[in-house]
Amino acid sequence: MVETATGVYAPHGVARSLETIAAWVLGVLWILPLVYAFWTAFHPSAFSTRLAWDAPLTLDNFVSAWRAAPFARYFANTVILVTMVLAAQLVLVTLAAYAFARFDFPGRNVAFALVLVQLMIMPDVLIVENYRTMTVLGLKDTILSIGLPYMASAFGIFLLRQTFKTVPRELDEAARVEGCSPLQTLWKVYVPLARPTYLAYALVSVSYHWNNFLWPLIITDSVESRPVTVGLQVFSSTDQGIDWSIICAATLLTTGPLLFAFLLFQRQFVQSFMRAGIR
């Protein structure tokens, strides 16, 4: 096991106990909302505000939530959306990053700067114009329209370009010597070596698009294209009063898959996000 950098400075004795307690208090506070949501979702409405230990467990809230809105369809839409976006991103980002990393052409720096603009000016803040564009393209209210503005991901291009730049030139030349075209070199040499970056990026992307809300809210208005985040909001904004138990159940339903995946693949998740950071 690798000794951590602060190993020498790690706290001992009283200091360690105090820090442990503080860290735990923060941890408990941090996980509390989720725990409370679980509690409320699994107990009947009457107990949503009373924390009685002997309250009966029930699955009724989940049943009501599932029946109250076509969540199955919303889930399907979300899965299609994140898959579509990720697939497109992987292709586009790989090609663009390769161009920036290994090709020298006039205007390269300007082009790269233009790409970086998207890091600050994301499609999220351009909702008014993009809505107009989608209308003109006739794509409104489709799953494609949710994902299209995000498919050329500046973040992905940036990350992958960095990774590609670390690939030793010798491998590149060796492939050329064997008669590979640039695209073949890309496929045979660069892509396999960037696998950890791809995984990191994929997790970031799926996470982001699963949770995206404002743009999908604006651009979709039918059940056939609505993702699960919009479905949750449409469902819980009733004119006639809020039932917290059902809303918590619906909330858990929508976050369930991600949460479950996260719990199973915690380590990989964390490692990937770590790798996605800039060194």
Binding site: T4, A5, T6, V8, Y9, A10, P11, E19, T20, A23, G27, I31, P33, L34, Y36, A37, T40, T49, V91, L92, V93, L95, A96, A99, F103, D104, F105, P106, L114, V115, V117, L119, I121, M122, V125, I127, V128, E129, N130, R132, P149, A152, I157, S207, F213, L214, T229, L232, Q233, S236, S237, C248, T251, T254, L258, F262, Q266, F269, G277, I278
Partner: protein, 291 residues
């Protein structure tokens, strides 16, 4: 490969991404400027050129100034706190305190959940009379408080939600940076007789600067980009106390259907983001130590 072939190849590789970027980032930014100079079409009345009228209206609009002020306070309230907390969390997790697996899970879980979902849960917490906070403060003997329903506490209440959601995300980046620090540094410093605090302040923090820069950029973008919780929890109220710029854009564009005014407001938002980006890179680039 010849020069010509090289750049032909390169541009072909770039083409798909370039087209989409141009269509959904660059073109909209410019088109926004254009459309903000024309009035909103209504019914059969076509848009007509109105020049800077929207911007004059913006200056006269008290809600715009409120939204701007809110956003700046919001950024100020969430960014430093979430970064500081993230660093603290990363240090703790890195120190291998007992239960570190649980800690990492607890800190990071909020990040995985959609903001729209967590906002519903927090709305419940903040509900007066029987929400969780009410029950806890009641048990502790404090009085009742309508957190989301009073102007002074609504925005801070939302800030808490944001910090809760973001700190774990930033923690991961700090954790990565901490774990990539060479142990020799600590050993050398210890030999020199440096205290823990000194080491942290003079060695660790500067080395974490690139991470801090990255996290800072993310946090700033999020402070302007993420308004999902407003949609659920306060809808901009009470009396615009929680109206952020992007939410106001959303309201003007998609509730009032005034697309030209929304375009003008978006221009302000874009200018703000661009300015912040330039400032950040110019200022922090100079103070960054690279390993």
């Amino acid at each position: 490969m010849t020069r010509t072939r090289e750049w032909l190849y390169a541009w072909l590789l770039l083409l798909p991404a370039a087209v989409l970027l141009a269509l959904f980032t660059h073109y909209p930014a410019v088109a926004n400027l254009w459309h903000s100079a024309y009035s909103t079409p209504r019914g059969s009345r076509p848009p007509r050129f109105i020049g800077l009228e929207n911007y004059r209206a913006l200056i006269d609009d008290p809600i715009f100034w409120q939204a701007l002020s809110n956003n700046l306070w919001y950024a100020l309230g969430t960014i430093p706190v979430s970064i500081a907390l993230a660093l603290l969390m990363a240090v703790w997790v890195n120190e291998r305190l007992p239960g570190r697996g649980f800690l990492r899970l607890a800190y990071f879980t909020p990040t995985v959940l959609p903001m729209i979902a967590v906002a519903n849960i927090w709305l419940f917490f903040y509900t007066p009379t029987y929400g969780l906070f009410e029950q806890v403060s009641g048990a502790l003997g404090f009085g009742s408080h309508n957190w989301l329903g009073s102007k002074s506490t609504a925005l801070p209440a939302l800030m808490v939600v944001t910090i809760w959601k973001e700190a774990g995300f930033f923690m991961i980046f700090y954790l990565a940076a901490l774990q990539s620090m060479s142990p020799h540094l600590a050993e050398a410093a210890a030999i020199e007789g440096a205290s823990r605090r000194y080491f942290f302040r003079r060695v660790t923090l500067p080395l974490l600067m690139p991470t801090t820069l990255f996290v800072l950029v993310n946090a700033v973008i999020n402070a302007f980009r993420l308004v999902d919780h407003i949609v659920v929890m306060t809808r901009g109220g009470p009396d615009n106390a929680t109206k952020l710029l992007l939410y106001y854009v959303f309201e003007i564009g998609f509730r009032y259907w005034d697309s030209s005014y929304a375009a003008a407001l978006t221009m302000v938002l874009l200018t703000l983001l661009a300015t912040v980006a330039i400032l950040q890179f110019a200022f922090l680039e100079r103070r960054t130590h690279y390993q």
